[in-house]
Amino acid sequence: MTAKPLAVLPVMARPPARSAAGDWGLWDAPKRIFTPRVLYGLLLAFGLCVLAGEAYAQFGGQPRLGVLATMQKWLPLILFGPPGEIGGFTLNILVSFLTMAIGTVTGVVLGVMQVSQGLIVRRIAWAVTQFFRNSPWLVLLFFAILLLPYRIQLPGGFVVPFPDWIKAVVGLALPIMGNISEVTRGAINSIPTGQWESSESLAFSRAQTFRLIILPQCLKRMLPPWMNWYAILTMATTLISIVGVSDSMTLTQQALAAEGGRGELLIPMYLLLLLLFFIYCYPIARWTQVLERRFAIIT
């Protein structure tokens, strides 16, 4: 005979509410994020611009590909890059994954160092965090691109090449590291001190308390801001076009140049790129909001 626990731990979040509106299952998400209203809004905005472009093209007189057909022609390039290499929007996503991985690991370490018991470690971690949080992303990116070597000579005669896009990953990981460090510190500090005290009274060592009690509770609190930073990072990956990596931004501009300065293409093509990012980032933002609401602490 086992009785169900009446309540979860007081510090934990509210149990998932299965209200009349229903809870979000994983597969409900697409339906709820791209509600008819959002979809119509997107289609309307996009359609208007394409129509305006088509109408404008008619005045040109010369027979040439319509706006929609031109966009269809370039879309594969913008999405996947030139055949045989990684580029375009795929590269943006790849860079965002790698950067987030590096930034998260280093950021969490730095964040834990910020609550270390050693005064010097704490001070240094704080200074590093503040430095990378408060510097402009583009300056950090230039810093990495211009000052990292293009290859590293290892002692055994090995040469590790450092192509531009890897350097860009490092450059973008720096601000992410600073911000994730701050997120980690905030999460650790938000755990009530009672948790530390009671685990000490249960004879856990500090490291054990940290690993077994504090961090698992932190993970849940860190997830929404972490996802928020991922969305911000994905949008920031377009910065790598400035330093000469052929991401979706660069390829869009090259496609426009290849079309020879057709004025009616400008708005639809840039809008297409904006929409690509919107379609990728908007669900993340919505999902973050849902998680934030679900993990909110009852006060």
């Binding site: 402009p136 583009l138 300056v139 377009t238 400035i242 840039y270 990012f277």
Partner: protein, 248 residues
């Protein structure tokens, strides 16, 4: 002053530390001009984005569904697309739609400069966040306040102006500080459309004088100093607005 320049010059000849941007008249003028443009761009965009935020938050309380939907669409669009692409969109796609004007010496130039487009796009970008910030501030004002005010005979507009907004402003300042700091850092994107701001000028100097590391450090010091100044100013503002006994 002269001896400082002398010392900086000796740093270069003796140790190879090239701080040419501080002692060379021409480079110093370039860098200072860039810094001035950055400050101007920040101030203009911060002011405009706050105005957009206040208007947007007000529109969100509107009785017309269309107005609310449009505001919501604006917020979601600008929050979930890259600011750099937004800037390109404004500068390369929208700018050609405007008429060109003749200059005094007979050539044509665009109606709005790249500085103006950078300011517009940055304001819309940060404004989208500000709308949300102000909305949350307005929602945080207790309902009893508005009820009490309307019981005292205030009209809806007066309630907003004399009760809700002053209280909401005090609630939102910390969030607003975060956003304007972010905006200040985002002004570096104007580099991409050739606005001669600090990063742009710095990149010209390091191309001419090959002192990338020294210029980078100068840039970091400048931007972190500027962020520090902004945070300090916002903090002062928050303290000066504080109502004794309310909150905290």
């Amino acid at each position: 002053m002269e001896s400082l320049a002398e010392w900086l010059r000796s740093l270069y000849t003796d140790y190879g530390i090239n701080l040419v941007q501080f002692y060379d008249e021409f480079e110093r003028a370039r860098l200072l001009r860039g810094m001035w443009i950055t400050i101007k761009l920040s101030v203009v965009s911060i002011a405009a984005s706050i105005v957009i935020g206040i208007i947007g938050a007000w529109l969100q309380t509107s009785n017309y569904r269309v107005l609310r939907s449009v505001t919501q669409g604006y917020i979601q669009f600008f929050r979930n697309t890259p600011p750099l692409v937004q800037m390109y969109f404004f500068y390369f796609a929208l700018s050609p739609l405007l008429p060109r004007v003749a200059t005094d010496y007979g050539t044509q130039q665009p109606l709005l400069s790249s500085f103006a487009w950078a300011a517009i796009s940055l304001s819309f970008f940060a404004g989208a966040f500000n709308v949300e910030i102000f909305r949350s501030g307005i929602e945080a004002v207790p309902r009893t306040m508005t009820e009490a005010a309307s019981a005292l005979g205030y009209t809806q507009m007066q309630v907003y102006r004399y009760v809700v907004f002053p209280l909401a402003l005090r609630i939102v300042i910390p969030a607003l500080t975060n956003n304007v700091v972010n905006l200040l850092k985002t002004t570096t994107l104007a580099y991409a459309i050739a606005v001669p701001e600090t990063l742009f000028m710095a990149s010209q100097i390091w191309s001419d004088r090959v002192n990338v590391l020294e210029m980078m450090i100068t840039l970091f010091v400048f931007y972190i100093g500027l962020v520090g100044l902004l945070v300090w100013a916002m903090d002062r503002w928050e303290k000066s607005l504080r109502i004794p006994g309310y909150g905290q």
